[in-house]
Amino acid sequence: MSFEPKIIGFLCNWCSYTGADLAGTARMKYPPNMTSIRVMCSGRVDPGFILDAFQKGADGVLICGCHPGDCHYVEGNYKCMRRIPLTKKIMKEMGIEPRRLRLEWVSASEGARFQQIVTEFTEQIRALGPLTLNEWAFAPTEAEAPHEQAAGRE
């Protein structure tokens, strides 16, 4: 049986989620591998979410926000844009290919673009194969454990 990647998509409420909705109402077909999580803004995407998704078995994470300059919250997408390279750095250290994380801009009218991005990204992840994590990647040291609990998971 061929490998079906699991992909988590964080979609901003105003542009990309609406764009995905448009792709749906327009009956555009794209791979069912991506499951979307609605956030109000791509700026809401905590790098913790991304790493958590990889830890729990996601093979790829896609983040979609408004085009630069079009953010409903003025500049949330810029904040996201700054966080992604840092997250990729952390991923590299953990042994996760940075290509498994992708940030894209999809506006509310770009249903076709959304379809294309999801299709492409799914194919890319399929080509990369399943994510295998090194055992040490997410294992908290004893000293870190309580902190992790306090910071990330209230």
Binding site: K6, I8, W14, C15, T18, T25, T35, I37, V39, M40, C41, G43, R44, V45, D46, P47, G48, F49, D52, A53, K56, G57, A58, G69, D70, H72, Y73, V74, E75, G76, K79, R83, S107, A108, S109, E110, A150, A151, G152, R153, E154
Partner: protein, 585 residues
Amino acid sequence: MAEVNVKIDGHPIVMEDGAFVLEGARNLGIYIPTLCYYPYMTPYAACRICAVEARDAKGWSKIVTACNYPVWEGLEIHTNTPRVMNARRVNLEMLMSRCEPVPVLQQLADQFGIDTLRWGTGDNTCILCGLCVRVCDEVVGAHALAFSERGIFRKVSTPFGGESGDCILCGACAKVCPTGHIKLEEIKGRSIVHKEISLGPNSAITLPFRQAVPNVPYIDVEKCIHFSTGECKVCSRVCPKDCIHYDDQDQYEEFDIGAVVMATGFDNFDPTPMKQYGYGKYPNVITAEEFEMMNNAAGPTGGRILLENGEEPRAIAILHCIGSRDQDHHKYCSRVCCMYAFKFSHLVKEKTNAEVYQLYIDIRSFGKGYEEFYQRILDEDVNLIRGKAAEVIPSGFRRGEEGHLLVLCEDTLIGKFREIPVDMVILCTALEARRDAKDIGRKFNISVGADGWYIEAHPKLGPVSTTTEGVFLAGACQGPKDIPDTVAQGGAAASHALKLMCLGEILMDAAYAVIREEYCSGCRVCNELCPYNAIEYLSDKKVSTINAALCKACGTCVAACPAGAIVGRHFTDDQIYAQIEGMLV
């Protein structure tokens, strides 16, 4: 200045010493024909048609030109004596010996009773009145024209007969020319424009549009002569109320508002790039908007449907879908064209005897009463041809004729190519989004679709609101729309805005961020991130706090808080982690 008593044709009038006879006569309403006189310029007495007889009390008399003869105490002017008429006739005959075909001269000849021209005729059209030269010097201030050569070779010319670098293309010389010797289209290179519907290049003062509120004219600074040369100012001299202020500037005003209705409308597609239809090349290829302007009873032709040469057309082709339903331009249907094209053909049938051809792709008569109107048009002998026009080429209307148009198309219903001879082609141009729609949309934080139309909150459930609270859409800025739909949406948008005002208080989403003070370390990372300045640092407690009324719940601060002290309500970390877990595990 001293005042003098003058009599003109027996009517006494008090005039300023040194004023000219013509001014007094005009004030008394006494007719003196003129050709080279124009207010606001120094009189020149070139045409000598304004000849009058000056007499004094002692019996002295002389023929003088009224336009530049200064008055003096006791002067008596006679404008209608046989001697005066004779002088005018001789002068006119001499003018006509040079310029017989000029209509103004022929009218005067009829008026003066001239049947034979004793000194022959000439076919020049310039009577050397010098108006153009004077207007360019004195009013426009461009000094681009002058008389050149001598005697019978005398003519008006630009320096060395070439293109004048000083000419500002204002068209004033053509405007004042009494004989039509100087033509607008020649100076402006605009011979392609349909004369009957062109408002000409002299419309520097204009109303924004006919129903403008306030209905006040404005000066188009780009076209105004004054803003080009610093001279002219004729309008301020004419205005009796002193309303013209050249140094007025655009002013910005600030208003406090709580709701915005976007009603920015649409632009008309410019068919010039579609070379095959020859818009801008053949004067009788016009857009629907231009036809509408011509058809307007208050328009330039008084509502008559005319060709460029002033004749009535014998056949008109109406081309649908110019720029819409077109893979190269706009893919969408502009919605309104089919019905207004029917209206056009109905009006053409009503006003003229012209044959009407409608070239359509599909007829879309979707609204209430529309299909019935379509059926009525079918009964009015309008030729409906299913097929998009391929090309418009110049041709004769009949064999051997010139200066008409031929529309080439495929009639897909009979499966044949057709060539339709017409006099006029009307292009039903697409409705397109305003060219600055994207910038304006960005200012109001509303999204713009691929075609440039504003996107509504939901196509079915929120067709009037936008994703930005308090901004509503009305009319064609949201997409092509006819008048009933626009009015309906405008009403809905207004009532949405009114609802906000009537409530007096604003209902907000319960989604906002909260800082849990017990976890906040007071690092102030979040303060800088908030685009709405909703986060404030309390220096006494050494923690930050969020103003819930200002917070729009974007969650940027929630993601950034190093202590995890900020909770984004409805989008808490727990909820999102649970979603991730639910999806993957």
